[in-house]
């Protein structure tokens, strides 16, 4: 049994799904960049738009690159996903909370 066959046991997505994921990620990165560079929005709307783009890209990466739907034991996937979400939430919300010091 060669390594190649070993790797063939599971389906890790097709070329098409990788390309779609890649293009979606690029587009979702370029949108905020264009908005900021051309100053196309006022501040609150801009911040919200950037965050929405970030969340969308997070979802894209989970489905197209992380294969969140696959695997033998989805329970592990869910557990690690919850842990990851907790940490991501801590990073984002914690930073905003700590950095509000000059706003009150």
């Amino acid at each position: 049994m060669t390594q190649h066959q070993n790797h063939g046991d599971h389906n890790h997505g097709s070329l098409k799904s990788y390309v779609i994921g890649f293009i979606l990620s690029i587009v979702l990165t370029i949108i905020p960049l264009v908005l900021v560079m051309n100053q196309m929005m006022e501040k609150t709307a801009l911040v919200i738009t950037i965050m929405v783009m970030a969340i969308l890209q997070f979802v894209v990466q989970l489905f197209f690159f992380m294969h969140i739907r696959e695997g033998e034991k989805p329970r592990y996937n869910v557990q690690t996903l919850i842990l990851g979400l907790v940490i991501v939430f801590t990073i984002v919300a914690g930073s905003i909370w700590i950095m509000m010091f000059n706003k009150y």
């Binding site: 390594q3 990851g84 914690g94 700590i98 950095m99």
Partner: protein
């Protein structure tokens, strides 16, 4: 033409300091000596085949260990230079810039290029053996991790003779680390040295999580897994969540410096405090990343040398897992004095105190394991016993620092310096040394000499307290960190001199250890049994040094401390050996790609450090080609025939 070269060289190489000229000479002589020896004894091919291209986890572990000891030497010399400068008031031994560079490189090297690789060395040397596996889950990636670390570390160390060292502190806070205040390549060396080795660290974290979850011997459920492997799992979980934060933060800092972005600048909407916020989100888990494996080592050592099962196995596992998660909720205590809302400060002060609880649980478990045990004071146990009071004081001063109002007094004073050295030396260094002494026979087939080791131990320990206890007092007396000198009028001279004496005692301790290793290579007690300490876990069931395939037959695990249970059964006469059935062993093939690809990463780092984009482009193309080539390599593994396994085992004195 000649003038151009001269002008280039005068800025490219670091000039003007006799200490550095001395270092230049010694570096060149060392390289010449190595090249000469390798050529004279025709060892280049051997070096390439057996070491530089190896994917064997034990050899990668040994290479990590050697590199980390070299880095310990360099970081230690930095420390001694600093202590010399501070030994007396108004000394002119180092000037201010040189002192800044030295405390920066001391901190970065000790955490990222000494503690991390020593930890990865222990992961590699022990985990597969301990869980009954033949290698890690991704051997090729493991080799790549090592070479990324190594070339990242070399890039960082190069700054010492080429271009100039970074000098904005070990975490390079902006605005000081921005172009305005730190022009030149020094800061870029810092960024790229850490970036490149950081990729390797992240990959190692993934590798060991998969190894531990997927490659345990049959029968070894998670609840029967040895505690060191648990600690590695805990540490690896922290690595995969923390290191991406570091990578992103430093990438943003690089964009500020290289592309004129405004993430952490003072103007243009940037916020330097955001850098502190982000870097400590990595930085706080990082200290737990390095200390939790030390806890795992102590758990193994205490059980073995007390000849008892570890007390409170389950609470140990829970404590390590709670630490892994809770360590992500304490980062703001590193910058209480920034000034933020009272609720933020209260939250982080309490979370910092809460994380001391699982650590306390572990200390009690070690004590209860020793209670009524038959303790033998071999070297690993000595370091473990020395660790407990040292870490206790370090932890207590940590809780003092967590009290936010009081922290406004201690912040960035020598009190803080003494605290984190006490937990990092008393916890991490003592732990790793205990682990190295403990597993050394398994790796090399001989024990390290007891007598010389004891000299080293006492010099380290007494030196430690002489060095750092005065620094607590100096902190209270108003001495803040990073002073390069001070006047007679401050009244700090006595304690500083004492502290310097202690630092040099630790240096003598290190020399004893180097002597101990070189002495033991010839005269150390040989380990013929494979189980020199009468230990408890699977790695001791195979010969020392372990054969390259580790286990001739995959062990069937029945209980926790399985090897101990087997030995007990043999002594009682109730042991029923399973019929040995040898099969061809599936092993990964060596590969030169990791070292080549990491060299291209080095080119990327070096090019971007000096702003030579063409060189970075060559590097990126090289990395891409390496990935391409590897993607289409299918002949990456082979089988060891049964005959060869039988012959190897017979040569190690085992009949199958």
């Amino acid at each position: 033409m000649w003038e151009d070269i001269k002008e280039f060289a005068s800025t490219f190489f670091v000039t003007g300091d006799p200490l550095i000229y001395g270092a230049d000479v010694s570096i060149v002589l060392t390289i010449l000596a190595i090249v000469f020896v390798l050529t004279k004894y025709k060892k280049w091919g051997w070096l390439w085949r057996e070491w530089l291209t190896t994917v064997d986890h034990k050899r990668i572990g040994i290479m990590y260990l050697i590199s980390s000891l070299l880095m310990l030497f360099r970081g230690g010399v930095d420390a001694l230079l600093m202590r010399l400068q501070l030994a007396f008031p108004n000394l002119e031994f180092l000037h201010a810039d040189h002192y800044n560079a030295i405390f920066t490189t001391h901190g970065t090297i000790m955490i990222l290029f000494m503690a991390m690789p020593m930890m990865f060395g222990l992961f590699n040397m022990v985990v597969p053996l301990q869980i009954g596996a033949r290698d890690v889950a991704f051997p090729f990636l493991n080799a790549l991790s090592f070479w990324l670390f190594f070339l990242g570390a070399m890039l960082f160390n190069l700054s010492f003779v080429i271009g100039g060292s970074p000098d904005a502190g070990w975490l390079s806070y902006p605005p000081l680390s921005q172009n305005d205040f730190s022009p030149g390549p020094g800061q870029n060396f810092w960024i790229w040295g850490i970036q490149i080795s950081g990729i390797g660290s992240l990959a190692t974290g993934i590798n060991f999580i998969v190894t531990i979850l997927k490659m345990r011997a049959p029968g070894m459920t998670l609840s029967k897994m040895p505690l060191f492997s648990w600690s590695v799992l805990s540490s690896s979980i922290m690595i995969i969540f923390a290191f991406p934060i570091l990578t992103v933060t430093i990438a943003l800092l690089f964009l500020d410096r290289f592309a004129g972005a405004h993430f952490f600048t003072m103007d243009g909407g940037g916020n330097p405090m955001m850098y502190l916020n982000l870097i400590w989100m990595w930085g706080h888990p990082e200290v737990y990343i390095v200390v939790v494996p030390a806890f795992g080592i102590f758990s193994e050592v205490v059980a073995t040398f007390s000849r008892k099962r570890i007390f409170g196995y389950k609470s140990m596992v829970w404590a390590m897992m709670v630490i892994a998660i809770a360590s992500f909720f304490t980062w703001a205590h590193h910058f209480f004095t920034m000034g933020t809302s009272a609720s933020v400060i209260a939250f982080f002060a309490i979370s910092t105190m809460v994380i001391a609880i699982p650590t306390g649980v572990k200390v009690f478990n070690w004590l209860f394991t020793m209670f009524r045990g038959r303790i033998s004071f071999k070297q690993p146990m000595l370091w473990t016993i020395a660790f407990i009071p040292c870490f206790l004081v370090g932890g207590a001063t940590g809780v003092m620092l967590a009290v936010a109002p009081a922290d406004y007094q201690y912040h960035n004073s020598y009190f803080l310096i003494a605290h984190f050295h006490q937990v990092l030396i008393g916890g991490v260094v003592f732990g790793y040394l205990a682990g190295i002494y403990y597993w050394w026979p398994k790796l090399f087939g001989f024990k390290l000499d007891e007598k010389l080791g004891r000299w080293g131990f006492w010099f380290w320990n007494i030196g430690f307290y002489i060095c750092f206890m005065p620094q607590y007092a100096l902190g209270f007396m108003g001495m803040t960190r990073r002073y390069y000198t001070y006047g007679w009028d401050r009244g700090w001279e006595d304690l500083n001199l004492v502290s310097t004496v202690g630092a040099f005692m630790m240096g003598i301790g290190f020399i004893f250890q180097v002597w101990q290793i070189t002495y033991s290579i010839k005269h150390g007690e040989r380990d013929t049994t494979g189980d020199p300490w009468d230990a408890r876990t699977l790695e001791w069931s195979i010969p020392s040094p372990a054969p390259f395939y580790n286990f001739a037959t995959v062990p069937q695990v029945k209980e926790a401390d399985d090897w101990w249970a087997t030995k007990q059964a043999k002594a009682n006469g109730t042991y029923k050996p399973e019929p040995v059935h040898l099969e061809p062993i599936h092993m990964p093939k060596n590969s030169g790609i990791p070292i080549v690809m990491s060299t291209f990463w080095f080119l990327i780092g070096f090019g971007l450090t000096f702003g030579w984009v063409w060189m970075a482009v060559i590097g990126f193309i090289g990395v891409a080609v390496c990935m391409w080539v590897r993607s289409f390599q299918y002949d990456t593994d082979y089988y060891v025939p049964v005959d060869e396994v039988r012959r190897t085992e017979a040569s190690l004195g085992r009949v199958l």
